[in-house]
């Protein structure tokens, strides 16, 4: 099918116009905000940042009688290891995001929107600035949009490099100028978000899907995919495949098809060992599990993992699961904000245990210790960063225990054996 989000040659405003751009905004402004929300509810569009929360429902959580300003925030702090879809989307189709935000802003009654973009995306931030300026010049952003009386101002805010700021409330803290640390919930952002006001936050990919939904209708969007998992999703594939990259596919596409049809299979001589299906924090699947699973929220949950951000990390037989997990542990240890005890201390502890495995100092009992340290972190912190560390640990140890045991016995793993042989 034709891509909804990832299109070539629509980055410029004229080109975006040429394929019907900003017509949906005009259409939306002719509807009531409640009608716009209903259309998005009908579409079954779910959050593409990782959690998969229904977007229309999220919008409807803004209290109807809320006084004072409301805010719309786009989470473009794409930091989950393995994820690079939002960057691609912002490069290729920035106006879909801008138009989606104007529509969402109208739907929730926000006069101000922020795009909080990952600090490393300097080029994309600049590109967005230009795109917003172009949209403003044509009256799609700013005061009295298209003569409707609706005002919507859009700001680009660059992050400063912390993974944790991709977490909704840490992002808000950072946006307000504080240290990026997740807030206690409740209150949720819909009640008390940015600057204490009702706030909706959506992922780039979620917002970019809105214009098409308004244009062609919620029912049309809902008809794509599996029903509960509606629409298309961007999948970013990394690892030893022939054509790694970002692919837009209807939800429910078999993972096997993504790997074999879109990515051209694994590189010559490589054999699939495992797949992390939804970004580094989601539980790993064995090759068998991966090749049997479909890429949608429900199928991946049933397989014991998550759709997450759609970052498909392909792992082949030559790679060492212990070493890979250690890389992840180093990342989460480095990125834990340090607020909650289990995450602050647990992430570092896990990395230290894994270092022992890598350095040949581990004992058998360390394997269970890894799981028990991770268990103690699961679900016991303010934000899910602790879970993001615990889930790979638990799944790696459970599914690839033999590799951990081999390390504990002092045997070299596949990766080490490779170059030496």
């Amino acid at each position: 099918m034709e891509n909804i989000l990832l299109k070539d040659d629509v980055a410029g405003l004229e080109a975006y116009f040429a394929c019907g751009g900003y017509k949906p905004l005009k259409k939306a402004l002719g509807l009531t905000p409640a009608e716009v929300i209903d259309e998005v509810k009908k579409s079954n569009l779910r959050g593409r940042g990782g959690a998969g929360f229904p977007a229309g429902l999220k919008w409807s959580f803004i209290p109807k009688d809320a006084q004072g300003p409301r805010y719309l925030v786009c989470n473009a702090d794409e930091g989950e290891p393995g994820t690079f879809k939002d960057r691609e989307l912002m490069r290729k189709n920035p106006h879909a995001l801008i138009e989606g935000m104007a529509i969402a802003g109208y739907a929730i009654g926000a006069a101000h929107g922020y795009i909080y973009i990952r600090g490393e995306f300097a080029e994309e931030a600049e590109l967005l600035e230009h795109a917003v300026a172009a949209a403003r010049a044509k009256g799609f952003i700013g005061r009295n949009i298209l003569g409707s009386g609706f005002d919507f101002e859009l700001f680009i805010h660059r992050g400063a490099g912390a993974y944790i700021c991709g977490e909704e409330t840490a992002l808000l803290e950072s946006l307000e100028g504080y240290k990026g640390q997740p807030r206690l919930k409740p209150p949720f952002p819909a009640i008390k978000g940015l600057f204490g006001s009702p706030t909706v936050m959506n992922n780039v990919e979620t917002l970019a899907a809105v214009p098409a939904i308004i244009d062609k209708g919620g029912d049309w969007y809902a008809s794509i995919g599996t029903g509960k998992s509606a629409g298309t999703k961007l999948f970013c594939v990394s690892g030893p495949v022939n054509k790694p990259g970002v692919y837009e596919l209807p939800l429910g596409t078999p993972l096997r098809d993504l790997l074999e049809k879109n990515c051209g299979g694994l590189k010559p001589g490589k054999k699939l060992k495992a797949v992390i299906p939804g970004g580094s924090s989601t539980p790993v699947l064995t090759a068998g599990e991966a090749l049997a699973v479909k890429l949608d929220y429900e199928s991946l949950a049933a397989a014991g993992s998550m759709l997450g951000s759609g970052a498909v990390i392909v792992i082949d037989e030559s790679q060492c699961m212990v070493g890979l997990l250690r890389v992840l542990a180093r990342f989460y240890h480095h990125e834990s904000c340090g607020q909650c005890t289990p995450c602050r201390e647990g992430c570092g502890w896990i990395e230290k245990i894994l270092n022992r495995f890598e350095e040949g100092r581990a004992e058998m009992k360390d394997i269970d210790m890894l799981s028990s340290v991770a268990d103690g972190m699961m679900g016991r912190t303010i934000c899910p960063l602790a879970d993001a560390m615990a889930m790979p640990v638990l799944s790696f140890v459970k599914k690839f225990r033999a590799e951990f045991e081999a390390h504990a016995r002092g045997e070299t793993c596949a990766r080490r054996a490779g170059p030496k042989a």
Binding site: A162, K179, L184, H333, H334, E335, S336, C337, G338, Q339, C340, T341, P342, R344, E345, G346, C347, G348, W349, K352, M369, G376, G379, R380, T381, I382
Partner: protein
């Protein structure tokens, strides 16, 4: 008003009540580090996790509000496991230097480990995160970041109570540490409260460090007399030595204690603490000093003035009034103090530095006397040959006394209080050494309980006054402080 059940016990609470507060009402204790009743909720330590029926995860009792029908468990296996795990996480990078830590004996880590864990360490000592130790931070505190559990009570205290925001958590993850913000110093007048609220040995008091193991300390509840606020305090002492004052939180007056008030006890142990009398500049034994003072009072009979003091208890002021009226038989006595009162910094420190301005009023009401202005006028015009008063009160008449030729006889606890040119000084038992009644700026009557005894031979001021009177031949018959209070209504 939601009704909830905690560990099988039902309770109806106000809307907005947290599970922790509701449990407390039922007498169920939920362990906590970051929670403090007078600070904002942070929810970071995860020690207060409890199980709530139908909630998929454990919830923090400190932040979760009671909702109708909630069924809460605080001792289930899941909760116990979570507490054990949190303690293990907190302890892996802890230096375990309890033997040289002042917090030992009143440490949240030690206590909760005994109550909720008792697990063996699974962490390799070599892997511990090292941080900066024993760094003096401000005039009153030492910071040991290695012992810190990052509960942020100190940070919140400085931003919410003193509103000076000196402290911040720097860096991230397990390399986080508490530090001063750039250009700040931790000297906000309330800094020692941080040592109190720090649940571990990260912040310790420079004054108290290494002086005494806490389990040797006895506790006496008394009143701080550093100003007219009259905070309730607990004096911690051992073998007749006070080691520290800590606040005794109460809804009327104080949760905290200012650094000034907290260190007032040090006057007792100061090098200039008077144990003997002073005549001019020479120390002499108590008895001869008393006789000398009595002789001078007799000599000046007819031109003696007596002044009370807002630094003295009602008992002591009343004894001075009795002395003036019934023994010296002078009309020149003054119990007229009208200092402006009220909290001046929005926290605790009073505009009135004297503790008992309000308590002198009933003495004045009972005995009358002349005003401060009249007394000053009589002194300045040379009509007063001898003035008997308390040392700090004498300073109020400094200008009138200059060149007046008036002999000044004062009561003082410390030599530093004696005004220049005083003829004789008689020591007396200070605040922490004898009971006394005071009235704070709110009009609340407060009686001090002495944690320690006065130096040998040093008596309460009313007792010294009683002796002075008997040397003059007209006994006041005071056998106790209460005797002095007769006839005074307050």
């Amino acid at each position: 008003m939601p009704t909830i059940t905690i560990d099988g016990k039902s309770i109806e609470v106000e809307k907005g009540t947290t599970l922790l507060a509701a449990a407390q009402k039922l007498g169920i204790y939920i362990p906590r580090y970051c929670y403090h009743p007078k600070l904002s909720i942070s929810g970071n330590c995860r020690m207060c996790l409890v199980e709530v029926e139908k909630a998929p995860k454990l919830l923090t009792a400190c932040s979760t509000e009671a909702a109708e029908g909630m069924v809460v468990r605080t001792t289930s296996d899941k909760v116990k496991a979570a507490r054990r795990d949190v303690l293990e996480y907190l302890l892996i990078n802890h230096p375990l230097d309890c033997p040289i830590c002042d917090q030992a004996g009143e440490c949240g880590l030690q206590d909760y480990y005994m109550d909720y864990s008792l697990a063996r360490s699974r962490f390799s000592m070599a892997d511990k995160v090292r941080r900066e130790k024993r760094r003096p931070i401000g005039p009153n505190l030492v910071l040991d970041n290695e012992r810190c559990i990052l509960c942020t009570r100190c940070v919140r205290f400085c931003s919410e109570v003193t509103k000076t925001s000196e402290l911040e958590v720097m860096n991230r993850g397990d390399h986080s540490y508490i530090d001063l913000k750039e250009g700040k110093a931790l000297d906000n007048g309330y800094s020692l409260n941080i040592a109190d609220i720090c649940p571990v040995g990260a912040f310790t008091s420079r004054d108290f460090r290494f002086k005494q193991r806490v389990w040797f300390l006895k506790r006496t509840k008394t009143v701080c007399l550093g100003c007219a606020t009259g905070c309730l305090v607990e004096a911690h002492h051992n073998e007749n030595v006070i080691y520290r004052l800590v606040p005794d939180p109460n809804p009327e007056t104080n949760t905290w204690l200012c650094d000034h008030g907290r260190l007032t006890y040090k006057a007792l142990q100061a090098g200039d603490r008077l144990k003997k009398g002073v005549i001019k500049n020479g120390l002499i034994e108590l008895e001869p000093a008393l006789r000398e003072a009595a002789t001078r009072i007799d000599e000046a009979r007819g031109a003696v003035a007596v002044m009370g003091s807002p630094w003295l208890s009602i008992e002591d002021n009343a004894a001075l009034a009795r002395l003036a009226r019934d023994s010296v038989k002078t009309g020149d006595y003054c119990f007229d103090f009208n200092f402006e009162q009220g909290i001046k910094d929005g926290i605790l420190i009073n505009k009135d530095q004297a503790p008992n301005t309000a308590g002198v009023r009933p003495v004045k009401a009972a005995y009358g006397g002349i005003s401060m202005g009249e007394l000053a006028g009589r002194i300045a015009s040379g009509k007063i040959k001898l003035l008997l008063t308390e040392a700090r009160a004498a300073a109020l008449l400094k200008d009138a006394l200059k060149d007046s030729g008036t002999r000044v006889v004062v009561f003082a606890a410390n030599r530093g209080e004696i005004p220049a040119g005083a003829y004789a000084t008689l020591p007396y038992a200070a605040y922490f050494e004898t009971p006394g009644t005071f009235i704070n700026y709110q009009g609340l009557r407060r009686r001090t309980t002495p944690p320690v005894a006065a130096p040998e031979g040093v008596k309460p001021l009313w007792d010294v006054v009683n002796k002075l009177a008997s040397y003059s031949g007209a006994s006041l018959g005071l056998d106790s402080g209460d005797d002095a209070l007769k006839g005074i209504s307050f």
